[in-house]
Every structure is written in structure tokens, then in C-alpha cells.
Amino acid sequence: MEERIAIIGGGIAGLETASQLSKKGFDVVVLEKKQITGGHVEQWHQVFPDFRDASEVLKNWNQHEISGQIKIGIDITNINKTNGLFQIELRDGEQITANAVVIASGFDLFDAHKKEEYGYGIYDNVITSAELESFFNRKREYLIKSGKTPQRIGIIHCVGSRDEKVGNPYCSKVCCITGVKQAIELKEIYPQAEVFCFYMDLRMFGLNYEDIYKEAQEKYGIQFIRGRLSETSELQDGTVLLKVEDTLAGKPLKLSVDLVVLLVGMVKGSVNNELKKWLGIELDLFGFIKPPDAILQPNVTNVPGVFLAGACSSPKNIGDTVNDARSAVLAVEKYFNHLKG
């Protein structure tokens, strides 16, 4: 087989796509903008639902098995489609030619600065879920600025998801279970700490998610309060005062905590607008890449030869991303079979 497939993005969607296409005999090239592959998973500590190390998950993709190339630190400046071939121009002047393109560029994390009232970037002890993973990974000496052991921790669900005020009314799917997972991990490190999760709904849709949620309450004593955070402010001792509406009790609630963790949702990848400009693909209302038929053909686009894998088209967890990548491989294969008649 001579067809060359360019895969934009070296996260788990890109790696799985490359791995499976490679096994089928395609020549693949993975173009990753960072200096390391693995995408967001590479930054994560443990993954739900089995609390496996994220690094262990990434070992699944033995990159030596991929017959083509993985190029890191890549900055794409333009993509042209001419006579059925895609010409991908890179910042260093190199040009890559491919017969098809799989977009596996993933998602960005919501910029928590936009929820100004939550105090991210203003108050010392307000961090994001991604930063908490970084703490878990690096096993830093202390989590809060004063160096003291946190006694109370507040985890805020749906930051930048299901939030019309920031223009993201959709659900990011993974934050609920991530919050529960992180709450348990915090309790394991700080067993004496009280951990509160402030949620809108808890969407425990995946297998075992509900069990983890139950265990969080029964085994770890994590408190789940249905309520929306209205604002934070910093107290003199550096603790953070939360003002929350407890929507079950129907009452406002004030609580001071040593640390606030904002469960930031998924937003469109920053490269999506450029991909639209270069390739003529369509984006949905929220900037994710839009397949013409999200139910029956989720991996194709309106441009023949351009395919989608992973969270570039909608929020997905790791399992769904892997499945989506495999589905994209089938779509690519079908496309070339069709071309050959």
C-alpha cells in the first residue's frame, strides 16, 4: 500500500490512529506540535475508573511499532488540497504530502481565568484540576502556598462546562468522574482533610463510575453538595471563602477552604479555526469540528480525504477516544477502497 496518511496531533487519538493504520499497511506521519506525544493524558497522574497510572496507559502505544514517522515540535503553517493530495507546509519550510489527513488535534482546557469571580490567577489557593494532576505527578512537597497541610478542600464541578455565561452550554463528560477521582486521591494523601464537591448534576454514565462515586462517599467521607459557586474571596489567612447556593437545601452557603480545585471542562482545540480556513471543514457552534453526520459517520468531514479522531469533534474520555480513533481507521480504509473501486 502506498497511501500516506498525515495525522495531526500526537495525543492518544493520533497515536491509536497511527498504530492501527500502520498495522493495516498505511504509511503514516504523526505531526505533534509539542515536544512530547501523549496529549493531555501525558500530563495526568491516574485515570478513572481503575486509578491506573496514566503513564501505564500511554505505554500501550509502543511508538517504535508505528511504521511511519512521529514528528514532534511541528508548527503547521498551511494545508492545501491539490489534485486529491494534501500539501502540508511546516514552519521550518518542510512540506509533507499526504493522500489523506486525520485530524486528531484534540481539545483545549477551559481557561479558568474567564470565570473571574472564581478567583483563578487572583487568589493563591485556587487551582485547576490539571494543576492538581501536576501536583500528584510531581509529588510536590506542599499543595497550598503557606505550606500547611490542607484541612478543607473544595472541588468545583462544571467550570466552563454547562455554563451559558461563558458560551459553553455543553457537558464536557469527563469532569464529574475526574472530580470524584481527584477527591479520592486527595483523601488518600490527606486523610484528615474534609473534601467537598460542589456539583450541578453528577453524570456517572460510565461503567464503574457510580461505584466510585459511592465509594467516595462511604469509604472516604467526601461530601457532595449540590450547589453552584457564585464567587470566591480570599481571607486574611490565605484561605478562600466560597459563596455557594445549596440548591437542595435552597439556601445560600458560606464555607472557607484551604484549597479550591476548579474542574475545567473541554473546549475546542485552538487549531480548529486554522484547520477550517486551510481545509474548508465545518465547525459546530462551539468550535469543535463538525462531521456531516455525527451519529452514523462521526469520523468523516465535509471534505473528502479529511477524517476526525478523538476529542477534536466533541468531548470524550480516553476509552471513547480510543474507540473513535479505531472508527476513524475504518473510515480511512473505506475511503481508499472506494477510490480504488
Binding site: 481565568h113 473571574e116 469571580e117 490567577g121 487572583i122 487568589y123 464567587e231 474571596s233 480570599e234
Partner: protein, 357 residues
Amino acid sequence: MIAEGKKRIWKDYQKEIADDRYYYARSCVRQNFFPGSEAAFLKILREELGKNVFDDPAHTSCTGIGYHADVVPLETTMTVIARQFALMTEAGYQNFVPSCITSFGLYSEIIETWHHFPETLEKTRKYLKQATGREFEIPDNLAHASDVIYKFRKEIGEKGKYRLVNHNTGEPLKIVEHIGCHYSKMFPHKGVGGAEYPYVLVGMIEEWGGEVVDYPERRHCCGFGFRQYAVKANRGYSLSCSHKKFESMEPYHPDAILTNCPGCPYFFDRWQYAISELEGKTYGENGFGIPVLTYEEMAGIVLGYDPWELGMQLHQVSVEPFLEKIGFPYDPEQKYKGKYGQDLGKPKVPEFLKVCC
């Protein structure tokens, strides 16, 4: 607190403020609550900064209180506001400067409504023409009076005779600020610094040497919400709003409260007296209250204006501790003297709140 974080937000919320030629729309209630403040604004702009300000006696209320209390319909409010703009247009001005925060919020809301629903603008033009024969232009620039003082804060500081610094210790005074809900909570981009970490008053305090104190209930309403204080049965709610703020700021020992809105200074000032009578509690030093100043009063004091000319004897909470801290000389004998030196009489001394009489 991460100072850089606030600076980053402030950069995102800058607004254009006209440089000169202002049509000034006074506030209905400020002239009664703190009558010296608007006079000070005009004096600072005209005499200190050499600006052209038209103080038009023909304008009316913006209907703000009635609008927010649901007794004035939106169409009426739009038409009244259109008349204010017609007066501005007829006077040859394009830069509209309301003194009142609620007016500023309402003007912003109506202009925004006209922008998004042009049919309402056309209706308003028709109604105004039918009712008064007038026509109007939407202002090129809408800025609250505090925006204008903020714009010229450096010039005022340079001309100033006093700094917001304790003249005995050299330490900056600790000042809490309150921008008023209608300044930017409805339209964050129309206020300097936005809604969550507003900068308009912070910029003045910092420029004039003071230190801004952030406290947990900084964003909370002062209690001037119209449905709270205007309905007698709800006044306890108004008082509890102010009480909540005083309790929250108390541990930070502020030397003064700087305000932006017609109602906020009034309620911060008067409710300190009410709380002292109800609970025997005071929030300032040595039994005094925390002095509450409008931004014009503070600018006037920085410029060395006579506090009694500024009308500060009408404050329930004595401002003398604040004046003494910055080393501002004042004549206590003149506090209750009228314009021609006549004795105006002294108010009754409260039972708990210590005052200078």
C-alpha cells in the same frame, strides 16, 4: 493575592473616556445626600483641569429608581433618556457624563437595547418627537463622573496638596472601595476594571498614595437596593447588607471607605449610626465610625479643599479622624457655620457612635 492577576484583568477592561466637553447629568439624590460632591466635581474639572462642562438645569431624573421599582415602563424610561440626549445634542455636546451610578447603568442599558433592537430606537425617536418636538443623537461617549476623575487622577495627584498617607507614620492609609452595583455588574466592559475586580476607585486610591484593602464581602451590595430601602418593611434587609460588609471589613481596620454611587456613601454613613444604636457597636478607631467619602470628596481633600466647603459636616460618621491622619488642617469652629458665618446649629450627639461636634 496575586497582584499580577488583577493587573491582567484590569488590562482587559479599559474603556474610552472623553477628554473634554462634557454634558453633566446630575443625580436626583446626591444633591440631598452629599450636596458638596457634585459642586466639587464641577470645580475640579473647570478650575483645576480647565475642562468644558455643561451643567444643564433643564435635565430631569433618568427614572432609574422608578424603573428599577417597576413603576415606570421601559418605553417611558427610553423616552425620558432620549430627552436628556436631546438636551445634550441641542447644547452641542457629544460626551454624556452622569453623576449617578444607577443613571450610568440605565443609560448603558438603554443604549445597548437600542443597539440590539433598533426598532426600539425608532419608536423612542417617534415618541420623543410627538411629546416634545425634539430630536436626539446617541452620545459618542458615555462615562460615569468617576471615570472622568479616574482619567485625570494623575493630574489631580500632581496638583494635590495631600496624600492618602498617615503623616505621622508615613504608611499609606488602608482604604476599602465600593463601586456600586449598577456601575459595572450589568455591563462589565463599560466599567474601568470590570465587575469582579473593578479598578476605577482603586486607581484613584493608588495614585493618591493609599493602599486598597480587598475584603471578603467587597462585592456585596451596600443595602441601597431600591426595593430594600424604599419599602419600609424591607429596610432591615438594607441594614443587614451594610452590616455584613462592616463585619467583613472590620478585621482589616480600614481608615476610610471610598464610594462611587449616590446611595452607597449615604447608607454606609447612616447605617453605622443605626448599628451603633441597635447593637452598641462601632467600626472605626476609638469609638468612631469608619469615615465614608465620595470620590469627589476624596479628590477635593487631596487638592486641599475645605472639608466644610465640600459638605463633609453632613456626614453622620465624623471625617475628622481621616483628616487628622493625613495631616489636613481644619477649623472645627467652622464645621457648622453657614455660608455667611451664621450658626447652623449642631446635630444631636449619638449615644454610642463617637463624633466630632
